[in-house]
């Protein structure tokens, strides 16, 4: 049974060693925000994107965003439409070469005299 005590002791060492490394790692990752992997590097474009509402009756069914440069290719486009008291949103991927993307809008926001459309390109 003595060998069993050796195994248990060695296992204990292993746990301690592992825990020490784990603590060091967790300190390292939590002490710097870069460990989160969400650093941003500015915008993919400043160009004037075209924004076109596509209607279904009196509601905004989709939004076509155009003139997206190739530098934004592969990004995810989030679109939110606020029209008076109604809102809608949707998302789509931008083709690798840029161009235009039509995003289906849920929530059927009703067209009023003014609508606010927020666009966010995330990535590439």
């Amino acid at each position: 049974m003595r060998w069993l005590r050796v195994v248990i002791a060695a296992g204990g060492v292993a746990v301690v060693v592992g825990a020490s490394i784990a603590f060091a790692a967790s300190l390292s990752s939590s002490s710097a925000s870069i460990g989160a992997g969400t650093a941003t590097t500015g915008r993919c474009t400043n160009t004037g994107l075209t924004v076109l509402q596509n209607l279904s009756g009196s509601s905004v069914a989709s939004v076509t965003v155009g003139s997206i440069p190739a530098g934004c290719g592969g990004a995810t486009l989030l679109v939110s439409v606020t029209a008076g008291a109604t809102t809608g949103s949707g998302s789509a991927s931008v083709p690798s070469g840029g161009g235009s993307v039509t995003v289906a809008i849920s929530g059927t926001p009703q067209v009023t005299a003014t609508e606010l459309t927020d666009l966010v390109l995330i990535g590439p």
């Binding site: 195994v7 002791a9 292993a14 390292s28 969400t38 924004v51 003139s67 067209v111 003014t114």
Partner: protein, 236 residues
């Protein structure tokens, strides 16, 4: 037994190494730095709907009926003719955008969207001029219009933008629909930063054509949402 202890010890050491490797691998993964670009835009679309809205006003003026107001018409006509030239005025209330476009915003693109329902048989150039004096939808006439009654005034060189319209092949806008080419970014940027906003006037690039050339645009009072005048402003 010694061999058994040795195996046990070896196993324990492997456990320790495995644990360390596992933790180190986890640490390496968590330390890897990714990056992605975040590109936000905001856009305000001002639409001439319902027909009673005051967010948009439009009216046509006609040389042939110089004292008549056509602010309640369902069409805005731009025409070049010997003695019956016609122009169109349109204004959008930027303060209706909610939230208000900040005066410090950078206007990336502003597009005037007007629906051409009737096109001339010849390809014509329509000029867009920034209006520099006030006018009202219910009172504007040919005689009291901000740019006066002189034909081909103001000069083409002062136009904000222009587009071609007409049915001949090769013309920029050769079918009914919202016209392309009516980009008014610089004007809207000026409005946002404090320049007084009196809207725009549209006229044929060469008035007083011997053959009448007419383009018909859908007006606010048509009440058709799919053809309503719009101004789309994209800014950051």
């Amino acid at each position: 037994m010694r061999r058994g202890r040795l195996h046990a010890l070896t196993y324990a050491c492997l456990l320790a190494v495995a644990a360390g490797v596992a933790v180190q691998t986890g640490a390496a993964a968590s330390l890897s730095v990714g990056s992605q670009q975040i590109t936000p835009y905001r856009s305000c679309t001002i639409t001439a709907t319902p027909s009673s809205t005051t967010a948009v006003i439009d009216a046509g003026v006609s040389q042939a009926t110089p004292t008549t107001n056509a602010g309640s018409s369902t069409t805005n006509i731009v025409s070049s003719a010997a003695t019956a030239n016609r122009r169109a005025y349109v204004w959008f209330d930027l303060t209706q955008c909610s939230p208000t476009i900040p005066s410090t915003a950078t206007v990336r693109l502003a597009t005037l969207r007007i629906y051409a329902s009737g096109l001339p048989a010849a390809c014509r150039t329509i000029d867009i001029f920034r209006t520099t004096a006030t006018w009202t939808e219910s009172a504007i006439t040919w005689n009291n219009q901000p740019f006066g009654t002189t034909l081909n005034n103001p000069a083409q060189s002062s136009r904000t933008a222009s587009f071609n319209v007409g049915t001949p092949s090769g013309c920029q806008n050769l079918a009914a629909g919202y016209v392309a080419g009516a980009t008014v970014t610089s004007d809207v940027a000026a409005f946002v930063s404090g320049t007084a906003n009196y809207g725009w006037m549209l006229r044929d690039d060469v008035e007083a054509s011997a053959t009448t050339r007419t383009t018909t645009f859908s007006a606010k009072n048509l009440g058709t949402l799919a053809q309503a005048p719009q101004l789309v402003i994209t800014y950051t």
